[in-house]
């Protein structure tokens, strides 16, 4: 009973081991040839951060691959916080953020890596306030937004805003972002005011796109997200600074002439003064070709003269 079993198992294992060895050899050969003879040196630029900017950064990276084939820009998202954390740990070449790096974060980066983060403005984003297409509301003031979103704010129902919604949709469904997103931090500062917090009970989505999608599916919802994420099933509200003042739509012109009140710069950070390929890449991002991509991605390019660093 014992011997035949042993023999049969041995006869099975031998070819299997052979096959694995063969496969390993073949893979090794392929891997070697790939790394040595295929191409000249390829420089990799690591680019991480803001979820708002991830589509834009990806579009830049793809266009730059055609412009400079020897450089590959690897883009990942995760949020401004992720980008800044990577900067603090020195694991990234360029961090994308939709908020400014705080002094204490800058100090941590200096302590860990010996270099101070250097800021580059690469475009603007208007933070649009989205509601469902079926919502009759067209404009809103910053005070109303604060009443809806801020801790202690009184507005909970659409009827309090003078908006008549179909039965069952009167409750304002606040859609927000997870608490360490740059968009969340910017909206908190620009709309709720310094030091104020969000009202608890908002639906905290994990991405710019998720906010717009949930709003599109929920008649009673209101949400904020980058203007580049607009889809046809939602409506962007015009926003006024105060009641009685004119309201402005989130457009390129209104962002550049500062009439739209919830707009912010899009930033890229490097550790210390950029050099070599990273510097070339940032220069290209600031060039007309790079800024055209800002426009086609749905964001606001930098004004033609000045403001460039």
């Amino acid at each position: 009973m014992k011997t035949p079993l042993g023999r049969s198992s041995r006869s099975v294992t031998k070819p299997v081991i052979g096959l694995i060895l063969l496969a390993a050899l073949a893979w090794g050969a392929v891997a070697c040839s790939g790394s040595t003879s295929n191409q000249p040196e390829k420089t990799v630029i690591q680019n991480t951060g803001s979820d708002t900017m991830v589509n834009l950064a990806q579009a830049w990276a793809e266009a730059y691959a055609k412009f400079a084939p020897t450089v590959s820009v690897e883009v990942s998202g995760g949020g401004s916080g992720t980008g800044i954390a990577a900067l603090e740990n020195g694991t990234v070449d360029i961090a994308n953020t939709s908020r400014r790096v705080e002094p204490q974060e800058s100090a941590t980066a200096k302590k860990n890596t010996g270099k101070e983060p250097r800021e580059f403005m690469v475009g603007y984003d208007a933070l649009a306030v989205y509601v469902s297409k079926s919502n009759p509301l067209d404009e809103i003031t910053l005070e109303q937004l604060a009443e809806i979103y801020a801790e202690g704010g009184k507005v909970m129902k659409w009827s309090q805003m003078g908006v008549t919604m179909p039965a069952g949709a009167d409750e304002i469904i606040r859609v927000s972002r997870q608490s360490n997103s740059g968009t969340y931090a910017y909206f908190r500062e620009a709309v709720l005011g310094k030091g104020r917090d969000f009202k608890l009970g908002s639906r905290d989505m994990h991405g710019s796109k998720d906010v717009v999608e949930l709003v599109s599916k929920t008649p009673g919802a209101i949400g904020y997200s980058g203007m580049g994420y607009a889809i046809s099933e939602v409506k962007m509200l015009r926003v006024a600074r105060k009641a009685g003042e004119p309201a402005f739509a989130p457009t390129v012109e209104n962002t550049l002439n500062h009439t739209y009140p919830v707009a912010r710069p899009l930033l890229m950070y490097t550790l210390g003064e950029p050099a070599g390929e990273v510097k070339k890449y940032l220069d290209w991002v600031h060039s007309d070709a790079g800024q055209d991509i800002v426009r086609t991605s749905g964001y606001v390019p930098l004004p033609k003269a000045g403001a460039r660093q």
């Binding site: 941590t108 997870q178 908190r188 500062e189 917090d197 009970g201 639906r203 905290d204 919802a221």
Partner: protein, 297 residues
């Protein structure tokens, strides 16, 4: 012949110690994970951690500029409400299915059902979350006329569907473990099938069924991705099943990636991890003690 026997003995001992190592490694891993989670959270746990606020305040403001608050009461309520609803749905269905599979259906049906139920267990949790988000959300909105369908009900339904397979397979094992002599004796006394199940099998398999339920609870408490997508992720103590909630697990999943390493926020998330560890540990320990109770009888 002699050398060969010695060789065999050598191999035997080698394999034996290898297997022993595998067994011990499970314990080592559990303690290792616990140690790691505890170490990451310990810094804050022993300095500045306010247990009273942590357990009694529903205010979760980990990144506030003016007043950082780490209250997880709303998150505990979220986990508890979703789990309770899931169990209220899954236990009757799971135990019912276990009784049907084990006692009432023919062998061919039984095989088909068991394979299908195991298939249900193999669906990844992110797929369940997706079903909650895209199928159940509009369905709940239309059916109940509520403003949003990402609610306790949605999360509870998804979790119930995920826990049923566990309850069925363990429950069925428990019923199968009841000796046939019990069934034969009961039938000889002239009981109906319903009386057999209700008066003989359920009391006899009581512990096993309880263990099945508790393992289902463990599954529901620990589930992350599906509830993150299906419950709406809103910090709020629910007052009805139509409220959105946020669970402990979903909070860790959503925030840990962006919390700076070793910051207070990061450490508090690990303290939530310790809390979850304790909850599931107690649930599993209870299940284990209950199962051991069966063996002793």
């Amino acid at each position: 012949m002699q050398t060969r026997r010695r060789w065999e003995i050598l191999v035997e001992t080698a394999i034996e110690s290898l297997i022993r190592l595998c067994g011990i490694s499970a314990i080592l891993f559990v303690f290792g994970i616990f140690f790691f989670v505890f170490r990451e959270g310990a810094g804050f746990l022993f300095s500045g951690f306010n247990p009273r606020e942590f357990f009694t305040s529903p205010e979760w403001y980990p990144t506030s500029q003016s007043h950082v608050r780490y209250g997880v009461l709303a998150l505990i309520a979220g986990t508890a409400s979703v789990t309770a609803l899931a169990m209220a749905l899954a236990v009757p269905f799971g135990i019912g299915a276990a009784i049907f599979v084990s006692e009432f259906c023919g062998p061919r049906w039984k095989e088909t059902l068991k394979i299908t139920i195991e298939l249900l267990a193999a669906i990844p949790s992110v797929v369940w979350g997706f079903i909650g988000l895209t199928v159940l959300n509009p369905l709940i909105m239309r059916t109940f006329g509520v403003p949003i369908g990402l609610t306790v009900l949605n999360g509870g339904l998804v979790l119930a569907l995920m826990s049923v397979p566990i309850i069925v397979s363990i429950g069925e094992d428990a019923l199968k473990a009841v000796p046939d002599s019990y069934r034969e004796a009961a039938l000889a006394l002239g009981v109906t099938r319903w009386q057999l199940v209700y008066r003989v099998l359920l009391p006899a398999a009581k512990n096993g069924l309880l263990a099945a339920v508790l393992l289902g609870v463990g599954r529901a408490v620990g589930e992350t991705m599906a509830v993150l997508m299906a419950t709406g992720h809103a910090v709020k103590i629910p007052t009805s099943v139509m409220d959105s909630v946020r669970t402990l697990t979903a909070t860790i999943a959503a925030e840990l990636g962006e919390a700076p390493v070793n910051s207070e926020h990061y450490q508090v998330l690990f303290i939530i991890g310790i809390l979850l560890f304790f909850i599931t540990f107690i649930v599993n320990l209870t299940a284990d003690l209950v199962v051991r109770g069966i063996r002793h009888r």
